[in-house]
């Protein structure tokens, strides 16, 4: 069972068969994380570099843990301070790291397409950990894994993605991932935050929560980025929370055993009500656990190439 590609840059570029391979590869590694000694030698002697141009604790920690549990040597590199300020380009920074014989580079960057630029310029494998608003494929993969774990099947499920879809790489990756695996996707949010032509991707667009959640099996909440307020995208947190916040009442509108998901970090009381975040149907913490497993599976598959 092999993934014949050097990089994981987007969900848009993955075939459904490849997605299935990745999800299957994650299974045994979930078990490893549950052991007393959370270690397997699969990536022993390999070097994994977390190249994070944008700050991130959870994603970086998740990749770091995943690599370490596979026995790889891990380096965390945050060029937001030194070399970029000194004017070094993304490609030059990466080539420097490649010259230290990095096997896998995990990249997070604020520019859409940054992972593509990197993957074309170096021989090391590149995993896109989030490039601007474009994609965050490992997030979508762990989301698929989580849904599959709880619901058994992805095909035919109704999934609602709620919030600032336009600026969300999590939304984009999930839209591609879920539609490829046969789920029915709808998005809900203020029109200022829904990009055009989503209907051409087979996605239904709603501007009101109360219409949108009826019969939905999975509700995926997106984090509201508060700085968007100054860009006239929404008038106030108060209004946003009132119109689009996931309250207990709104949860009742969805299907009976609907899953509540969120990529984190959550803004309690904004996009998700306090009690909803803590409720049994919120699998948010499962997502985090599965994230490590999926990333372990992915790095394992990529290392098979070298």
């Amino acid at each position: 069972m092999n993934l014949k590609r050097k990089d994981i840059l987007s969900m848009a570029s993955l075939a459904p068969e490849e997605i299935a391979i990745i999800l299957e590869a994650a299974e045994p590694f979930k078990e490893v994380s549950g052991r007393e000694i959370k270690k397997v030698p699969a990536l022993r002697g390999k070097t994994v570099v977390n190249l994070f141009f944008e700050p991130s604790t959870r994603t970086r920690t998740s990749f770091e843990l995943a690599a370490k549990r596979l026995s790889a040597d891990v380096i965390n590199f945050s060029p937001s301070d030194s070399s970029v300020v000194k004017g070094e380009s993304l490609i030059d920074t990466a080539r420097n790291i490649e010259s230290m014989q990095a096997d896998i580079i995990v990249l997070r960057h604020k520019a859409a397409g940054a992972a593509e630029v990197l993957a074309k310029s170096i021989h090391s494998s590149v995993i896109n950990a989030g490039d601007g608003w474009h994609e965050h494929p490992t997030q979508a993969l762990l989301d698929l894994f989580t849904i599959k774990e709880k619901k058994g099947e992805l095909k035919g499920l109704h999934v609602a993605i709620v919030g600032d879809v336009a600026h969300s790489r999590v939304a984009r990756s999930n839209i591609f991932a879920l539609t490829k695996m046969g789920a029915k996707v709808r998005v809900v949010g203020p029109a200022t935050m829904i990009p055009p032509y989503l209907d051409r991707l087979g996605v239904e667009v709603y501007y009101q929560m109360d219409d949108a959640l009826s019969g939905v099996d999975v509700v995926m909440m997106l984090r509201l980025q508060l700085e968007r307020q100054s860009r006239s995208l929404f008038p106030s947190i108060r209004e946003y929370a009132r119109l689009y916040g996931l309250t207990q009442e709104r949860v009742q509108m969805a299907a009976k055993d609907a899953l509540i998901m969120h990529p984190g970090p959550i803004n309690r009381g904004v996009e998700i009500a306090h009690e909803v975040a803590d409720s049994a149907s919120a699998v948010i913490l499962n997502q985090v656990t599965n994230g490590v497993a999926v990333r372990m599976g992915l790095m394992y598959l990529l290392s098979e190439l070298h």
Binding site: A12, S89, A111, A112, G113, W133, R172, P196, L201
Partner: protein
């Protein structure tokens, strides 16, 4: 120096479209003999160019190019720019003022003209800045710019956002009978955008520049033309809505003209899917519908002129993540074959296509070139309309390589370019 071009298809838009012989002497066209009987007086001091199978037409006139000098010589100089221009068949180039310093004064204009004279290839007609340092606030000394040799005014790469300033610029320019050119873009609507806002930008998660960002300003400018009756030229029109607005303005008899660039009728925003910065320019590549509207606009005369917006950038500037790369592609050497595609597609006749590059630009800017009349300056291009060639960016004559057409097979090759009776390019 005497030149005889023998047996070419002589196309002088609106005047001639027949096999003929062209005689050039002392830098002027002295005689055109159509359907020549071979009775021509051939002297030994004459350079004879065999025009069989070739088209001979006026040298192309580019109303919109960036020669980058002074200030950005690492991207292009006037010398390398005009070398690339003549390789593309352009004998006249109008260069934009977004140099460093901005061309808002006689001294910069004169410097550009001196550099062009030293390079001695294509003619250079500077376009002066509308406002001082193109800040969009105070008018530059347009009278002085005109006297120094500017043929039009513009603040291109950026729009004049303040409508009162644009109004005054239009009124003031009327004194000198030179057109005002605006790069139509509402900077608020386009804010942060790096490609067309559409399905592709939705899929790529790249901030988009909506059609409305251009159309809002096209409409504003047309309204100001109505108010001031000034001659106005719209740079690089890229959307269906803009074409519609210009068509309507012309129907009402307003002195509005428009240009389109080859990339806007040859590519769409699909070209950006791989995050290729060589397909990044402003205004951006738009959708299929817009591209069709541009072609329709060229066909029905709404769009008067084809211009390149030749915009060189160094490799280290373009080889970056998409949002950090500067806007712009080079265009002199691919303009002809891309324009000839329109002839193949039935959008334009051969004569009509040549007009968009010659007589029409001359008319819009009031230039005396763009014609093969007897006594006119001998600015000509000889091209083979059927020869194919592959675009190799490394072999182009510009200092920069930023073209999205690398590897494309083009049909239509410039064989010789003549400026003032001198062969300045020989393929």
């Amino acid at each position: 120096m005497k030149i005889l071009i023998r047996g070419a298809q002589v196309i002088d838009p609106g005047r001639t479209n027949q096999i003929g012989d062209i005689y050039i002497e002392h830098g002027k066209i002295t005689l055109i003999e159509l359907k020549p009987q071979g009775k021509a007086e051939v002297s030994t001091d004459m350079q004879i160019i065999d025009g069989k199978g070739l088209i001979a037409c006026p040298g192309f006139i580019d109303l919109h190019a960036h020669l980058r000098e002074p200030g950005f010589e690492y991207k292009e100089t006037i010398a390398t720019g005009v070398t690339s221009a003549v390789a593309g068949g352009f004998t006249s180039v109008c260069c934009m003022p977004n140099t460093k310093p901005v061309n808002d004064s006689r001294s910069v204009t004169e410097f550009m003209l001196r550099q062009a004279a030293a390079a001695n290839k294509a003619r250079v007609f500077p376009i002066g800045a509308i406002t001082k340092r193109s800040q969009g606030e105070e008018l530059s000394e347009i009278g002085e710019l005109f006297e120094a040799g500017c043929v039009a005014i513009s603040d291109d790469g950026i729009p004049v956002m303040n409508s009162l300033v644009m109004r005054r610029a239009m009124e003031y320019a009327k004194t000198f009978k030179i057109p005002v050119i605006d790069h139509c873009e509402d900077l608020h609507l386009s804010e942060g955008g790096s490609m067309n806002e559409g399905q592709v930008s939705t899929e790529l998660g790249l901030p988009g520049i909506p059609n409305a960002a251009e159309e809002v300003m096209v409409a504003r400018n047309i309204m100001l033309v109505e108010l001031t009756k000034a001659q106005f030229h719209l740079a690089h029109v890229s959307t269906a809505g803009s074409v519609r607005l210009v068509r309507d303005a012309k129907a009402r008899g307003l002195p509005v003209t428009a240009e389109a660039c080859p990339h806007h009728f040859s590519l769409t925003d699909d070209a950006v899917r791989s995050f290729d910065t060589y397909a990044k320019m402003n205004p951006p590549l738009r959708s299929d519908m817009d591209s069709h509207a541009i072609k329709e606009g060229l066909r029905d005369g709404t769009i008067d002129v084809i211009a390149t917006d030749h915009a060189p950038h160094a490799p280290h500037e373009k080889e970056l993540q998409f949002d950090s790369a500067p806007f712009g592609i080079i265009g002199f050497e691919t303009a002809l074959p891309l324009t000839l595609n329109l002839v193949d597609e039935g959008v334009l006749t051969m004569e009509g296509a040549i007009a968009k590059l010659t007589s029409e630009p001359a008319r819009v800017f009031g230039l005396s070139h763009g014609t093969l009349q007897i006594g006119a300056d001998a600015d000509l291009v000889l091209f083979d309309p059927s020869q194919t060639w592959v675009v190799d960016p490394a072999k182009l004559h510009s200092k920069s390589r930023n073209t999205p057409f690398g590897g494309w097979t083009m049909k239509g090759k410039v064989m010789k370019t003549i400026v003032g009776g001198r062969v300045v390019y020989d393929a």
